[in-house]
């Protein structure tokens, strides 16, 4: 009862404190706006996304809010429809990657020195691959499917998250309350779940925000390079790629998706930075 209720309530305090900060509020508005566009944008679209409306690279007009793209499709419609895939993929891969990294990190931190070293050295090997190179390798090898992109991007996050979580958890492992749990014979699983995990939630959430912004960048880059969603699908990354050739004539087809991606990234960063600040303050108070 109290056991499950309380850690949540402390989390609630943290969250409440976070959103008292101006930057977090701005961040929430930015992120909220982009998520709204991604989810409900298609409902407001004046045309269908693959409909040829006007001449290629037609300029702005009352009918075409942002002009037409290189094939003559409505940029505004494609913008409203193109957010879902990138935001959805980013969320999915971040949850997957951070979750996997969390499990690896906690396991390594609570393991014997030798097992820990073995896991972390293996982890280091994975870290040696640049994220984008690894993603391109897999996607070009196995074909581009949405699931594969989400899984691969998530997979490249895991070793990076594992590093951070292990470091945070290793510090917690040294504290006396863990020794107290060992001394009364608590099982390893319980030590990880109820002693270790609640004490790494702050770095975990900060890491989540950071990985989220990386995911957006990666997913956009994959689409941009033409390995993500395939034409004629509407997707912000793909839009940048398709229209970059005619950017001097019709800049809106490129600038709009760039702007949306930038706003989302900045918004997420504002929130996670504020959270990190609050969490550090609270943790310090707890430790003295």
């Amino acid at each position: 009862m109290a056991k499950t209720l309380k850690p949540k309530s402390q989390m609630r305090v943290l969250t409440a404190l976070t959103f008292k900060q101006t930057y977090a509020k701005i961040g929430a508005v930015l992120v909220g706006a982009i998520i709204f566009i991604a989810l409900f944008g298609p409902l407001f679209a004046p045309h269908t996304f693959d409909e040829f409306i006007d001449a290629p690279n037609a300029g702005r007009s009352p009918q075409l809010l942002l002009g037409a793209d290189y094939l003559g499709r409505d940029v505004w419609t494609r913008f409203l429809c193109g957010g879902r895939s990138i935001i959805g993929l980013s969320f999915a891969s971040t949850i997957l990657g951070v979750g996997l990294g969390l499990i690896i990190g906690l396991f390594a931190a609570s393991a014997k020195a030798r097992t820990d070293a073995l896991i972390m050295r293996g982890n280091d090997i994975l870290l040696a691959f640049p994220q984008i190179v690894f993603v391109l390798l897999v996607v070009s090898g196995f074909g581009s499917s949405i699931f594969l992109i989400a899984i691969t991007v998530g997979f490249t996050h895991a070793p990076r998250t594992a590093r951070i979580i292990r470091a945070a958890a290793a510090e917690v492992m040294e504290r006396d309350f863990i020794k107290a749990a060992i001394a009364v014979g608590e099982k390893r699983r319980r030590i990880i779940l109820s002693e270790l995990l609640p004490n790494v939630t702050s770095p975990l959430l900060v890491e989540f925000g950071l990985r989220m912004t990386y995911s957006i960048g990666l997913v956009a880059a994959v689409s941009f390079l033409g390995l993500g969603l395939q034409p004629p699908a509407a997707d912000w990354g793909l839009m940048i790629n398709e229209n970059r050739g005619s950017m001097t004539v019709q800049p809106w087809a490129v600038l709009t998706p760039i702007f949306a991606i930038a706003v989302f990234t900045i918004g997420v960063n504002f929130i996670t930075d504020s959270f990190a600040k609050v969490a550090i303050g609270i943790d310090r108070k707890g430790k003295e």
Partner: protein, 588 residues
């Protein structure tokens, strides 16, 4: 003439205007030492830093005047303050380990203030002064020593370097903030002797801040007692320690463990309020046995008792004199051998290839308290961790009621893990900060007895009563509790397992004396009511006499003396024990 003259200073938090300290006045004459004592949160560090013109971030000196050798500190410009600091007034920090710059050589660190304050002198003159001051603090002054880095010195040497830095420019005033906390008793007495000699010889006025009354009684000429941001009693040493009139001062002195073993210690219930929770009227009233209606309504005025003795208390005339409770002599009744609760035989402990424990033998009978005393690094914590199943790198035997125990907690039977409980030194680290207190205690009940739900809640309440904590604490998180409360939670957690033996590793070292005394009282009552055996590990000799039946004195991994508490204290056989006893500060 007084070289330090502090008049009616108030220091407040800028946001909200809550006063941290209020109406502080005192004077210090050249060559005189004023001891400033108080429990944590009383504002003594705030006052001491104010003398240097420093307030912590977000606080400000609102009113009053501080004259240091004729210079006004309150409202002075930063550059004027900088000219005074290190030259006219110097500071000896609490922890030299963090105060000395690890990247600079000793000579460089002492030279810094000389170069700053006497740029006209040549570097030869400066070096000459460095050698001189090092000799005065009883450190070598050869080239080899001067070229060392802080990490190449022991804790005591580091603290003496910090003192040398403070005294280098021949200051008129020196502020010492608990400079001997964390030092062993023998080192402490050397450092104290150094400070005393330097102040006397050079006529330096000193403000010595400490929570340790025994140290202050050995060092100070005058003493100011602070409580909740106010000086509640100030007078000369004898007036404070032997003719104190304030109930708080009296209780503090009663809470002090008495190495001579004459009296029992007496705790003060509750704890000192934080600046924002101080009550109206006299701040001590809620904890005071003599409090009457007026105490919680009106702030007591400053009353003069003798030319030097002042007090803030409504009831100072007729407050009860607390007669010390004589301590019952405890000496061994039996040492039967058959029924040992715990026997440690021929234990050698290691850290990798380094041996830290040598042929240790200790036997504890049911319901008995054995104290394990030693200075830092003596191996006492390693031994207690071996018993607790947290350090398995040892040879020899630890047996519980004649049954050999597994080396690691995981290799022991569940009943054994239940019967032997361990309480850690720091209550700030030993309780999971992300779990409410009720869950922390309740987990033991679930783990060992399968108690859950209402049954467990009832039992938790019983346990909280046992350690005198309010029931409402079950939903609190550790960061909402004071150090003393946290340590009681740790004790309650240990008691939840209904242990036969509790290993207490320096459990009172993070606590104020008044809280320490009530924790000791609690443990003593528990021993009577539950017959639990205790292994009480501490560096504080005086404290062992208030709780232990037997004492083992440990030095460099070897037990040098082991016997009944009174016989060891009255006629120590080992030289080391007599040296420890001699250097332990006490009220005389």
């Amino acid at each position: 003439m007084s070289v330090v003259r502090v008049e009616n200073i108030d220091i407040a938090i800028t946001r909200g205007g809550i006063k941290i300290v209020e109406n502080i006045s005192f004077e210090i004459a050249p060559g005189e030492i004023l001891g400033l004592v108080g429990e944590s949160g009383s504002g003594k560090t705030t006052v001491s830093m104010a003398l240097l013109g420093h307030t912590r971030k977000g606080a400000v000196i609102e009113a009053g005047s501080i004259l240091i050798d004729g210079h006004q500190i309150v409202g002075a410009k930063e550059e004027d303050l900088r000219a005074l600091r290190g030259g006219t007034i110097a500071y000896v920090p609490q922890d030299p380990g963090t105060a000395l710059n690890p990247g600079l050589r000793i000579s460089k660190q002492i030279l810094e203030s000389l170069e700053k304050h006497h740029p006209e002198q040549s570097s030869e003159v400066h070096m000459e002064r460095v050698r001189e001051i090092l000799t005065e603090v009883a450190l070598p002054s050869d080239k080899d020593f001067l070229m060392r880095y802080p990490h190449q010195l022991s804790g005591g040497q580091q603290q003496r370097v910090a003192i040398a830095i403070a005294f280098a420019c021949r200051p008129k005033v020196i502020v010492c903030d608990e400079p001997t906390t964390g030092l062993d008793v023998t080192t402490q007495s050397r450092v104290l002797a150094t400070i005393r000699a330097l102040c006397r010889e050079h006529g330096v006025a000193a403000l010595y801040v400490s929570h340790d009354l025994a140290v202050v009684s050995e060092l100070a000429d005058n003493v100011a007692v602070m409580y909740a941001g106010k000086i509640v009693e100030i007078g000369n040493r004898d007036e404070i320690f032997f003719h104190s009139s304030h109930p708080y001062t009296r209780r503090l002195i009663r809470a002090l463990p008495d190495i001579a073993g004459r009296n029992q210690i007496l705790g003060i219930s509750g704890y000192a309020p934080m600046p924002w929770e101080r009550p109206a009227g006299c701040a001590f009233a809620p904890r005071c046995a003599d409090a009457q209606a007026i105490c919680s309504q009106e702030v007591p005025s400053h009353t003069q008792l003798t030319p030097t003795h002042f007090i803030d208390c409504h009831r100072h005339k007729d407050a009860t004199k607390i007669a010390p409770t004589p301590r019952v002599d405890r000496d061994l009744v039996s040492a039967s051998g058959e029924s040992f609760l715990l026997s440690i035989d021929g234990l050698d402990g290691f850290y990798g290839s380094r041996q830290v424990l040598f042929d240790t033998n200790i036997h504890i009978e049911p319901g008995e308290c054995v104290a394990l005393v030693g200075e830092s690094g003596s191996g006492k914590t390693t031994l207690s961790r071996c018993i607790g199943g947290l350090h398995d790198d040892y040879t020899g035997s630890i047996s519980y009621f004649g049954t050999e125990l597994g080396k690691h907690a995981m290799e022991r039977k569940k009943e054994q893990r239940r019967d032997i409980q361990y309480i850690f030194q720091s209550p700030y680290a030993s309780i999971n900060p992300r779990r409410p207190i009720g869950a922390t205690i309740g987990r033991q009940l679930d783990l060992f007895f399968g108690l859950k739900g209402t049954e467990a809640q009832l039992r938790i309440k019983e346990l909280l009563d046992l350690v005198s904590l309010p029931h409402s604490i079950v939903t609190s998180f550790p960061d909402q509790l004071s150090g003393g409360e946290r340590q009681r939670v740790a004790i309650a957690r240990a008691l939840a397992a209904q242990p036969k033996l509790i290993v207490c590793d320096e459990i009172t070292s993070a606590l104020d004396v008044s809280v320490q005394a009530s924790v000791i009282e609690t443990l003593n009552q528990l021993r009577e009511s539950t017959q639990v055996g205790l292994l009480f590990v501490t560096h504080n000799l005086a404290l062992t006499r208030t709780i232990a039946d037997r004492v083992a004195v440990m030095r460099k991994g070897t037990i040098v003396e082991y016997g009944g508490i009174d016989s060891v204290f009255n006629s120590p056989k080992a030289d080391y024990t007599s040296r420890l006893l001699e250097h332990t500060p006490s009220l005389k």
